[in-house]
Symmetry: C2
Subunit: 489 residues, 2 copies
């Protein structure tokens, strides 16, 4: 799959990064001779951030090519995204030229944050395939993309754009009406206008205004919008009650400051100096990394709840897993079974700069879970009041790993009887198959209702027997059966 | 420490919960006969959420008493917080009455979201001690509280209020000017006004507007406000460049929709039905739990970055640690050293409903770290290129624990030489001292520059020797030296 990009600024570079990291080839047109450097910088940020964000391995990175005309960038592309500066004539010209070089069913999307698609599509060859696809900075991390068609746009073009964006882990929001500024930027601008007034009137500084957002409503806005938050605030009495209670305050005098403050030199100076003070000694690059790390932490946090951007991330990761080698339903039993892989997340790393020892236990435990699923322990089995509990574990740490390292885990069945099973896991680096840790677990089959040991289901025992037939022939790993303090073999 | 609360609605109940969970006694006045039930419900939510949010144990919960007059609620209180409905006369009357019953230096704060403190303090005994202390819902989780004095307010009153709020884990934002709606609500209201227009004009539904926030700018707003975000968007050219680029768009036609839409019955019906549709079958209670879980996840996520609300949380936790029993500088060596305690967080629990086995390794590893600090391995030591690495671990799982269980860990030094040390940890439930898991670790002293084993510093060896003098006399734990598959003793 190949994407044509028109424009390689902050937004175009962000698109390039998102597409490349998802394995798409990118052909870009940007007349700025600095574009390759700028895109390279965004890509470096994005590589670091995306690797940190998602657990499964990303597909092999696509190829980035710079071409010298919009026509060349669109030739052979399966999808075209325009991210030129916000000047109508410029965007129209780029889209017009590029559209002559692309097949009639190739969809074009514009990253414009405010220009109407009905205007953008004027003069294009096959104007019906143009929609707005408005992303948010940083494009490689934020899931939102607003899709908005113009008067000539086809529904199929919007469908196609939505499908492409979902493939790269985004959340497309389909707008039902064409409107300047779309939805998100109107909301942002309303808040921004009020913020400028507060600075203008000396009520608060840039930094204080930011604090008023990020320590309060901003925390909620990362997973619920204003409507749902207010519904909850209304309590059992519901939204009508909330509106009755707070509707009148909309007419209070403090809502009347709705004009735009004049951007005098004085106001600009104030904003700039307050912004400088707020940023302190931090460079833009450092601020970008901080922003990305916070976004990653927030989205990964929300993933544990399975809500909002966490749900989008979860869906994306499952998609990435699906694209990788699936765990064989009928595994190869002539060797330890490869059941699990992961990339070391940054929060696994401790003050020594390496993966913390306890995380290998976590990894091994996750691998054990996958082995249990392989032998038939599913949710129905758990609901029937039966499970395997680990009663004893032994870990050997062999080599260090670092954040971002790709690891995989194999499981070997050392022994089993009706109630017990002894598993051995080997954790290896994917690059070179180097052993990094091993673990041995004694697991007990338990009747969870009576809370005592019980024989496993015959179906599970049969699967264990089938595996044992092969694994009994494997050599015992040197780390198995060790006690602490025993000299290494 | 005792707090008087005037009003026990959603906000007053949230204050009650925050103060009680931080060990303050609360005396509350609310004429609503339903107040005890309502406050009880908020408190139940808050208990669950706060326990999940913070790692260290909370202090013993304070006592909640309902009293039948504002005077009674203020009598003997060290701080008074008013959270009555937003009616000026009502608030004035409550503050006036309560102020007659409190000593002259007892500070009063009002939770009003928009009324001016200069008006609220009129008629109070000692009006100089009244400030606004405006919190955000849910009060027991969101750190922001705006502090704003009126024309008669003293700086000391604002200082005192800020100190009280910091004690209960909040971030006080001191406003420099008295203004209707303060800072945060003006920003919220600006966005809300625009959202109402979008619904009114049929551009987007409540749910779509919420998505436009939570999948985009809302994620950023959870840690950086608009000013810093825009500074980053401006790139290396800085804030002046950003303003030059986007300032003109403030004058575009789509910024002119700044009036308040009339809340006709039709618009209200639309909002209510869209809100119902968005909430689906979820009850307010379920939505509250979802909101709280998301807030916890976001704040815990930001804690890993140490920024924004994560920094506030981190400071609060360190404060809670400090309030607990400090680790003795000269520990009692006649028994295994108690080095660590924690409350089982919800995300440690797996599908079996118990703490996942791998978490005991994490807990034991954290205890090992604390033991290392105890024997002198500090950041200077690490920077000198020396550290202890774990090379082998053995865990025995003895009993199940659940989310919220309070655990503590002891460390016993089993043996050591110049380069190696064998530690044994016992993890116990705090309630009944029941053993839940044990772990044994072999640790190797490493020259991290050369990446090979090396003798520990004489200072550390001396500390180990001092501990060994006592610990050598302790009986060997039955789980020490075991290998997997060995019958239990």
């Amino acid at each position: 799959m190949r994407v044509g990009l028109l424009g390689g600024g902050v937004i175009g570079g962000g698109w390039a990064a998102r597409f490349l990291l998802n394995g798409f080839d990118v052909q870009m047109y940007d007349p700025d001779p600095e574009a390759p450097r700028k895109v390279g910088e965004v890509l470096a940020n994005a590589r670091r951030a995306t690797t940190k964000l998602v657990m499964p391995a990303l597909p092999a990175e696509g190829t980035l090519t710079f071409l010298d005309s919009p026509e060349a960038a669109a030739t052979g592309a399966d999808f075209v995204q325009e991210s030129a500066p916000e000047r109508l004539e410029l965007k129209q010209q780029l889209l017009r030229r590029a559209s002559t070089a692309a097949g009639p069913d190739i969809v074009f999307a514009s990253s414009t944050s405010g220009l109407l698609p009905s205007l953008l599509q004027q003069g294009m060859t096959h104007p019906e395939r143009l929609v707005v696809g408005h992303p948010f900075n940083p494009v490689y991390l934020l899931p939102l993309v607003e899709i908005c068609g113009g008067s000539q746009s086809s529904a199929a073009a919007a469908d196609r754009a939505a499908a492409v964006y979902e493939t790269v882990g985004m959340h497309p929001l389909r707008l039902r009406k064409e409107i300047d500024g779309f939805v998100a930027d109107r909301l942002l601008e309303a808040l921004w206008r009020e913020a400028l007034w507060l600075v203008n009137d000396g009520v608060a500084t840039a930094s204080e205004i930011d604090d008023a957002i990020r320590f309060g409503a901003g925390l909620r806005w990362s997973f619920m919008g204003t409507f749902l938050v207010y519904r909850i605030a209304g309590g059992e009495a519901g939204m009508r009650h909330f509106m009755a209670q707070f509707g009148p305050t909309l007419q209070w005098p403090w809502t009347k400051l709705m004009d735009v403050p004049e951007l005098t030199d004085e106001l600009l100076d104030t904003i700039v100096s307050q912004s400088d003070e707020q940023a302190g000694a931090a460079s833009i690059r450092e601020l970008e990394v901080l922003r990305d790390d916070c976004l990653i932490a927030v989205m990964q946090g929300l993933r544990t709840v399975g809500y909002g951007a966490g749900e989008v991330l979860d869906r994306y990761e499952r998609q990435l897993f699906g694209r990788g080698t699936p765990t064989a339903v009928e595994p190869d039993l002539t060797a330890p079974v490869r059941v699990h892989e992961c990339r070391v997340p940054t929060d696994w790393v401790d003050y020594n700069g390496h993966t913390n020892d306890s995380r290998y236990m976590q990894l091994s435990s996750e691998a054990g879970d996958r082995f249990l699923r392989l032998i038939g322990m599913d949710s129905a089995y758990l609901e029937s009041g039966r499970s395997f509990f680990t009663v004893e574990s032994h870990v050997n740490y062999v080599a260090q790993t670092r954040a971002g390292d790709q690891l995989y885990v194999t499981v070997q069945l050392l022994s089993h009887d009706q109630k017990r099973m002894r598993l051995f896991t080997a954790m290896r680096r994917s690059d070179d198959d180097a052993l990094v840790a091993t673990a041995e677990h004694m697991m007990l089959h338990v009747d969870t209702t009576a809370d005592r040991a019980s024989p496993a289901d015959p179906v599970i025992l049969a699967k264990l027997a089938a595996i044992a037939e092969y694994h009994d022939r494997l050599p015992a790993p040197p780390q198995a059966g060790r006690h602490i303090g025993q000299p290494s073999r």
